[in-house]
């Protein structure tokens, strides 16, 4: 019975003596822990975009605009070849002939220029 009283008194004394210090250590520990945890979460959430903050938004916006202009420019330079079928801009049959027939194949969009009764040089 005496032993129990002694141990309880010792426990209380120890608790009263160490409680403020252990609380401070605990607070420091948890604040450090949270700080590290926050730091690690940030690192892990953007592993592949580490380059991203290097390029400012203004540069990205201008680059996007440049991309659009480039595509428009290249497409407009290509011009007629983007059309569905060939285009005949000019045609001159120098040799004597009976007529010219221009046809377009519907399925392949191929163009046929057929010159009728073209003069035979060899004749």
């Amino acid at each position: 019975m005496n032993d129990k009283k002694k141990s309880a008194a010792a426990f209380n004394a120890l608790g009263q003596a160490s409680s403020p210090q252990s609380n401070r250590e605990s607070d420091e520990f948890w604040s450090d822990f949270r700080a590290h945890a926050r730091y690690r979460v940030q690192e892990e959430s953007l592993p592949s975009l580490s380059w991203f903050p290097i390029i400012p938004r203004r540069v990205l916006a201008m680059a996007s605009m440049a991309l659009l202009l480039s595509i428009v420019g290249v497409v407009s330079l290509r011009g007629p070849s983007m059309d569905v079928s060939n285009q005949i801009n000019s045609l001159e049959v120098v040799a004597s002939h009976g007529g010219v027939l221009i046809m377009e194949d519907e399925s392949s969009h191929g163009t046929i220029v057929w010159i009728m009764d073209l003069e035979n040089n060899d004749a």
């Binding site: 480039s70 070849s81 059309d83």
Partner: protein, 140 residues
């Protein structure tokens, strides 16, 4: 500020090269020119002309097509080639291609065309002992 300009310039150059690369890969790089003899025979044939046989058979009153000669050149063109006694001169880019067909010293046909990729252009009606001769141009 200079660093921003440098990065921006790099972005612009890279994007333009990418876009140009994508589009130029789709554009025709080569012009093929073939001389074909078209006749009407009992048996239809177009061996070796699978890419243009359809358009020829559907559009022309002939059923037998045989390849008499072929050549190819890079685009933009600037060359003259001989095919079966005809001289074919091509110059310019695919979108503004000038073609002149000559027989000996005499010009027969002058034309300027814009060719679509893999879409044939046929210049036909050239005289032959039987049937007709055709020149088929395809940009690839």
């Amino acid at each position: 500020m200079n660093n921003y300009r440098y990065q921006f310039s790099l972005c612009v150059v890279a994007i333009f090269l990418l876009a140009a690369g994508v589009f130029s890969a789709q554009a025709g790089q080569t012009l093929s020119v073939r001389l074909i003899h078209a006749t009407q025979q009992q048996q239809a044939s177009s061996s070796g002309l699978s890419d243009v046989a359809g358009v020829l058979q559907r559009s022309l009153p002939y059923n037998h097509f045989s390849l008499k000669g072929s050549t190819s050149m890079r685009l933009p063109a600037g060359e003259t080639r001989s095919l079966g006694g005809y001289s074919v001169q091509c110059s310019g880019a695919q979108g503004q291609l000038k073609i002149q067909v000559r027989r000996g010293n005499k010009a027969l046909i002058n034309t300027t065309v814009a060719l679509r990729d893999k879409t044939p252009l046929v210049l036909g009606g050239l005289p032959a002992s039987t049937g007709k001769l055709l020149l088929v141009f395809v940009a690839r």
